[in-house]
């Protein structure tokens, strides 16, 4: 989508939003806007990248970056430890991106030519330069956030096998079809890679699993459950069978499946992303999830997961902003915030925390021509979700700035 040259005249600028919300961390507002608009790098900023030190390549189910193409940093850290998960190839919007440049010898993030904050490039973990015994680069097997090992064992999603069932904002199918990667990551490769990653003291604080949905099995989703159990068991051997800091974002499993995962593995927290907190919009935007599980059942399964994993160890992710996608989404930001936060409060009453990812219009998704809401919308939403966690006393250790780093609202929960 082409950038609208006049977009700045249609909404408050980043600086204006910072000034309007003096109680909200400017770091988190900058992060939010960078994730909404993406970032671009000047030549000077790129000259500060050291491929021996910084993370430039990644293979995940949603993003594929190989070192032959681009040496731009995979993502950024701010001075306060906040991660900005964005890059030059992750967002396609009608607003121009923020810019990373070198100013007074410091790497800074800028908006409209004005330096905002110093940034640091993510460092790659030691295992990125290693190979599995089968000869594969370990970064093909797992990827890394600053403190997290990420495993995406299924790089495709079965919802895409039924025409019209893929989630409309999702780029998994496009990413998968563009590359020559295998759909399933080999268990032995995962085992070796995680083992190697754990040799780096002080690097990782959690292990994270997610991937595309697998509908197969005697009961719906049994095959997906089985896949995660096998991986968690193998990975768990490193910890002598104890529970270990970990998160699984899976499809919404039933109580029996959840109990099995809890009983048979060392998993500590569980997430099933409902994506959009409104039943009609869920049906429209996530038609596969709606057809196979349904909105109310998805919520019930989250509540059941609290019984299994405990309060503070179950949450659900939102692709925040898709609720305003045209033509069926909410018409005004005010209405949208009211409706979303009302639903989020119902979840919170049941001990389930809603966490937001800033919707960036992913190239290759069905929604690639959509426009994301204003920055102010995201600031209000983050404040609202953080306030609900405080009101209902739900901590967010499982998905905070260190473990995930992708949710501005959980960043606000740091103080």
């Amino acid at each position: 989508m082409a950038v609208d040259k006049n977009w700045r005249e249609k909404e408050l600028s980043l600086k204006e939003v910072i000034n309007k919300y003096p109680d909200v961390s400017p770091f988190i507002i900058i992060k939010t806007d960078a994730q909404r608009r993406g970032v671009d790098y000047t030549e000077a900023a790129l000259s500060r990248v050291d491929v021996n030190v910084h993370q430039t390549v990644t293979r995940s189910f949603a993003v594929e970056r190989s070192d032959q193409v681009d040496h731009s940093p995979f993502s950024l850290l701010l001075r306060d430890g906040t991660s900005i998960l964005t890059g030059r190839d992750m967002v396609e919007g009608y607003r121009d991106p923020l810019v990373v440049d070198v100013v007074d010898d410091k790497i800074m993030i800028l908006d409209d030519g004005e330096p905002l904050e110093e940034v640091f490039y993510w460092e790659k973990p030691d295992f990125y330069d290693k190979f599995t015994s089968s000869g594969k680069p370990m970064w093909h097997i797992a990827w890394a956030r600053p403190l997290r090992i990420d495993l995406n064992p299924n790089q495709y999603c079965q919802f895409w096998e039924t025409p019209g069932h893929g989630c409309k904002y999702c780029a998994i199918a496009a990413t998968y079809k563009k590359s020559d990667k295998e759909q399933f990551v080999d268990l032995q490769d995962i085992d070796e890679t995680v083992h190697e990653a754990l040799k780096q003291p002080g690097r990782f604080t959690s292990i994270f699993l997610t991937g595309g949905t697998i509908l197969d099995g005697e009961q719906l989703l049994d095959a997906e459950v089985e896949q995660y159990i096998q991986i968690l068991k193998r990975v768990g051997r490193n910890f002598n069978g104890k529970r270990f800091p970990s998160q699984l974002i899976g499809t919404a499993f039933n109580k029996q499946q959840l109990q099995r995962i809890y009983d048979e593995t060392g998993l500590m927290s569980y997430t099933a992303d409902i994506e959009v907190l409104n039943e009609e919009l869920f049906d429209w935007i996530c038609p596969g999830k709606a057809a196979k599980i349904g909105y109310q059942e998805w919520k019930d399964r989250l509540y059941q997961a609290v019984d299994v994993f405990g309060r503070g160890y179950v949450n659900t992710g939102l692709v925040a902003g898709v609720e305003m996608a045209t033509p069926k989404g909410f018409q005004t930001e005010e209405e949208s915030l009211g409706r979303i936060l009302e639903e989020a409060e119902e979840l919170a009453k049941h001990g389930v925390s809603a966490v937001a990812c800033v919707w960036n219009v992913a190239p290759g998704s069905m929604f690639f021509k959509q426009r994301t809401p204003s920055l102010e919308y995201y600031v209000k939403l983050s404040k609202g979700l953080d306030a609900l966690r405080r009101k209902y006393h739900i901590h967010i250790d499982m998905d905070n700035y260190r473990r995930c780093g992708n949710h501005p609202d959980t960043d606000l929960s740091r103080v």
Partner: protein
């Protein structure tokens, strides 16, 4: 604007025998004071301390300080000398090789986990050594004292 830490104060800050105190405030302005034995001046001239407890009040207050450019206060005492430093957090180091260096040191020396390496910039340094402050006070505010300190007690008692 950061000020330079004198060589003398650097030595005091880096002496494990010195007592170091860090005072922070939460978003409502409630003060919180803790001893921070790990506080020292690092090779780059930043004040650095190691935060071992992720959800501690100090860690939360430090985040609030770095977000909104609120200052913190440090006091270091060595024998009879004492200095107060007003500082502002510059960086919360939570990952990367620099962090790992500190982490490995903590593991070797204390055998515990490390959450964050906090780096701070000193903004103002005031010597608070009692004798020095007392003499300064006498010179600057000669009117602020008890009268009986100015008379010879023996003469008063004679009458």
């Amino acid at each position: 604007m950061a000020v330079e830490i004198s060589r003398e104060l650097q030595e005091i800050l880096n002496d494990p025998q010195s007592i170091k105190v860090l005072a922070t405030t939460d978003p409502e302005g409630r003060p919180h004071v803790v001893f921070k034995g790990s506080l020292h001046v690092n090779e780059d001239g930043y004040l650095e301390y190691l935060e071992f407890i992720e959800s501690s009040q100090t860690n939360k207050n430090m985040v609030h300080s770095i977000w909104f450019h609120k200052t913190v206060a440090i006091n270091v005492k060595h024998e009879k000398q004492s200095f107060q430093i007003e500082a502002v957090p510059y960086r919360a180091l939570i990952a990367g090789k620099e962090f790992e260096k500190r982490y490995n040191q903590v593991r070797r020396e204390k055998g515990i986990d490390l959450s964050t390496v906090w780096l701070m910039e000193p903004l103002e340094i005031v010597e608070e050594t009692f004798e020095k402050r007392r003499l300064e006070e006498e010179k600057a505010h000669p009117i602020l004292k008890h009268l009986d300190l100015l008379v010879e007690q023996e003469k008063i008692n004679e009458k």
